[in-house]
Amino acid sequence: MNIQKIRDEASRALGRKDVKYLIGYQKGSYGFRVSPAFFQTKEEVERLIFSPLCQVSLAPYLTLEEVVPLPGEEKQKASKVALLARGCDSRAINQILAEKGIPRDRLFIIGIPCEGVIDRRKIEARFPSVTEPAEVREENGKYIIAIGDQSHEVPKEELLADACKVCRYPNPLIYDKLTGDKVAPHQANYDDITSWEEKPLEERLQFWLDQFSRCIRCYACRNACPLCYSTVCILDRLDPQWVKRSNDTSENLMFHVSRAFHLAGRCVSCGECERACPMGIPLMKLNRKLEKDVNDLFSYEAGKDAESKSPMTTFHVEDREDFIL
């Protein structure tokens, strides 16, 4: 992955009259941290980085911008937001576009084929308490990790994020400019889901009740999710109050079921929710179950193009109904 090419593309994008700012990454303050950053001018692009440590998805920032209503007949200024998009980000963008969450002409997408990112938990477990800034690059299936003046080599498989191991769309599906060479996709693998479904019901319920009871309801999973952009989220509503604010297992179960179900047929499996969870609850397991079902039952995959209709708002007369009495 050539960082200079990405920087060139970024400064070209910022040179355009209609681009307001660019969303990218910059070095974090310590260790393996990388933070999302906003770039207004061409000079700032020197700060821009892109490495396997850039795990955070940038797509959620698109729907966070406040659009102030204008008086009378005045129209919003036609300005674009540029952003770096990997495969999963581009699927999230596609899905948002399909739901008409944001107009296409407000986006300038710089697509980056992605070889997979590092799971921060895995690398921090391997190199604990690193405070000086570290850099990582990928070479021949290995990560070269530079901490201070030391250099380490770690096989890619050991640090790769779980979501990336089964990524079917590492190449951006929607973009205005593409940098870099295309990457071979991984195979979809739902073995963990099918083997889970063979376990007895009581064991499954006990596992999930244990997991849900650990939830502290910080809603980090919701905030990190590129598709959780509703302005009125049912979790914030007081009338009707679907989920009470008290933190007990029953309320947590309701929260997690509604979070997962609202992403049915919309989740692009970027793994952001699980990454953001401070308690390490396996949220992707629920998402992947729904993803598998939507794929099997309705042959639909989220975010493949910007026109498709959500499987929850359409139907086939021949849909399966063997569960109906």
């Binding site: 999930w208 079921v257 509604s258 179900f261 729904l290 109904e321 569960f323 109906i324």
Partner: protein, 140 residues
């Protein structure tokens, strides 16, 4: 100890199943008194989360009943409901809630007998599974 009597919430669509249940009564057909009926305008109006809420708030099972496919008063409400509850049922099973606690049926306004049969089946199934107590909402 007396036998466990399940508490079943039945969401019936206004145009078919509710009228069907009415016919069951007027035809003097006996069915188990465990169902509490909530009338909704269409099964498509049902938020799948209603099911989880009902199970949390004291129901041992949920029955959803609507018009037969193709006979929906709003043309496609039951088709949409079919998809949603299919997924919801799978998701509940995945987290270990017995899928038999969520049942769905098509009962038209003339099928009084079928409604009685459906309620009998659902009640008997839930009697076998036992009460839902693992994630009941705390009383306020």
């Amino acid at each position: 100890m007396s036998e466990f009597e399940p508490n079943i919430v039945a969401f019936l669509c206004n145009w078919c199943s509710y009228a069907g249940a009415d016919l069951t009564g007027t035809s003097r057909i006996h069915y188990p008194p465990n169902v509490k009926v909530i009338r909704v305008m269409c099964t498509g109006r049902m938020n799948p989360l209603f099911v989880v809420q009902a199970l949390r708030q004291g129901a041992d099972g949920v029955l959803i009943s609507g018009c037969h496919p193709g006979e929906c008063h709003y043309l496609k409400g039951n088709y949409l409901a079919r998809r949603r509850f299919m997924l919801m049922r799978n998701l509940l099973g995945f987290i270990g809630i017995n899928p038999l606690r969520l049942r769905m049926s098509w009962v038209s306004a003339s099928e009084g007998k079928k409604f009685a049969d459906v309620v009998t089946t659902v009640t008997e199934d839930i009697k076998k599974i036992g009460p839902q107590q693992s994630f009941t909402r705390e009383a306020v």
